[in-house]
Amino acid sequence: MKKAKRSDLSIDLGFLKLRNPVIAASGTFGYGLEFKPFLDLDRLGAIVVKGLYLDPRPGNPPPRLAESASGLINAIGLQGIGVRAFYDKILPQLEDLKTPLIVNVCGNTDEEYAAVIEFLNKDGRIDAYELNISCPNVEKGGRCPALSPDHTFSLVKLARETSRKPLITKLSPNVTDIVSVARAAEEAGSDAVSLINTLLAMAVDVETRRPRLANTLGGLSGPAIRPIALRMVYQVAAALQIPVIGMGGIMTGRDALEFLIVGARAVEVGTANFIDPGASLRIVKEIQGYCREKSIDKVRDIIGTLRTDNG
């Protein structure tokens, strides 16, 4: 029997070409190096490294994790080594990586986001920035930029003016109208949006009546949030011209395909990396398998092909 032809999984975001639509999500893939023993990083669509502030961040006290039904609530507090240590110690180790490298950019203030971007602009290895607009903003009483279209607009505009690289704005689902925030990012010059970040959540230990997280509140991720994520990606993809990257509880190739069908140009895989460090690559293979089975030559042909007629 003749072996079926391999489908073309490549994706063009306009500003970045990906060999396939599967990207490892920020905060779940460390700085990339942690996963080298488990998969060939070069075979992924792209990698987004853990969020970087200008300075190292201590993070929250433990407990930082609470498992829930089909989900995980985390309150890590964006612990990290800071942009300088990343540049000096981590980037050289990623030099040989052939996969596009996206850096997730954080800030306590709008100026800090700009400072991180300015610091990294000189690096030739980084292909794009993902702006994490869900960081608590110290000048706005801890409210994060993602909660308001106006703040999203002004922050993305500042980042756009500072950045010499493409900019992806990562949206928070903790808003009433995600489309208005997405539009603000687009109007401010973002090259793409990615969504969703985690959903604000909590869990209580009824024995002690204490919150199960030291921070009381945390962000829910995992399969539990996938239908909500999918709905938001569907709405945003219908409203925007720029590419949409979908994420939220993707565990399998079929989960990823749901996002592509409702209009995502690519997907990010997050929490699945914790359970199965080879998940991202497995998902690539599962998408390939689906395309072959359905005789789809190019995966990009299924993007935004949701059928809503009654036929």
Binding site: L65, N273, P277
Partner: protein
């Protein structure tokens, strides 16, 4: 570290709440050192979502053992597994216990509370192979809580037993029994301990007061076990400062003197 998606259970032994599983996983077995752990997937369904961290209890040429107690949904499912079933495991993970050359010919104390005894069996065998003499302090809530007594006895290692209710051995905490022995006999050259945090803290204090170096294997809820999620942290002294350090990556074994315990 390796991912073995199908380590088969070749033997199982259960006590009331405790379960021992012998897994065939030659590549992981060959690399395992005492104090290291596995991330075990208990189900391929989305709930429970996370793998469970379990220390390596014993190792033979091609097999590794895990010894655990039913402590919730994940370990309940694991306890129901049968001989012939396979488990998806990642390991060996973390940095294990270190055995310094200076310990050759000397006596060391191994202190285990409840399921915390698990890694100390592997360690005891390794110590013996390196001509170090282990003495085990094994504590539980009741006599049903110390099921590994005979297993240690078969190694011909001296075991001191304590139970909180006095139903077997010393009546009281294992840390109290340890202190009593430390004051009675010549102190060990090194202490190794694993158990619940309050126990470990008392062991650390007892060791520090007598200037005995101690290595503690910490337990934590872990998201990934490979250093990616930053979920399992402990405050650790680093020179003049202290920081939240990942237990999975830099531990689970730490020098007692570098651990900063939370306020009581």
């Amino acid at each position: 570290m390796l991912n073995d998606p199908a380590a088969s259970i070749i033997r199982k032994k259960s006590w009331d709440d405790y379960v021992l599983l012998v897994l065939r996983s030659p590549r992981i077995a060959r690399r395992a050192r005492p104090g290291q752990f596995l991330m075990v997937r208990v189900s391929d369904r989305p709930y429970p979502l996370l793998r469970r961290p379990l220390s390596i209890h014993a190792r033979e040429r091609d097999t590794i053992e895990i010894f655990f107690t039913r402590a919730g949904l994940g370990t309940d499912i694991l306890a129901e597994k049968k001989t012939g079933d396979t488990l998806d495991i990642i390991g060996p993970l973390g940095k294990g216990f270190s055995i310094s050359r200076g310990l050759h010919g000397k006596t060391v104390g191994l202190v285990g509370g409840g399921r915390g005894i698990a890694p100390l069996y592997f360690l005891a065998k390794e110590l013996r192979a390196k001509c170090v003499r282990p003495r085990v302090f094994y504590g539980g809530k009741t006599e049903n809580d110390v099921p590994l007594l005979q297993k240690f006895a078969r190694l011909k290692i001296g075991v001191f037993v304590s139970t909180d209710d006095g139903s077997a051995g010393f009546s009281g905490f294992v840390s109290a029994m340890l202190e009593k022995e430390l004051d009675r006999a010549a102190p060990p050259a090194q202490i190794y301990a694993c158990g619940p945090d309050p126990m470990m803290r008392r062991v650390a204090e007892a060791a520090a007061a007598r200037r005995i170096p101690a290595q503690l294997s910490l337990e934590a809820v872990m998201g990934c076990g490979i250093g990616a999620c930053w979920g399992c942290v402990k405050k650790i002294r680093r020179g003049e400062t202290a920081e939240w350090v990942k237990i999975c990556e830099e531990g689970p074994v730490f020098e007692a003197s570098e651990i900063i315990w939370e306020e009581k």
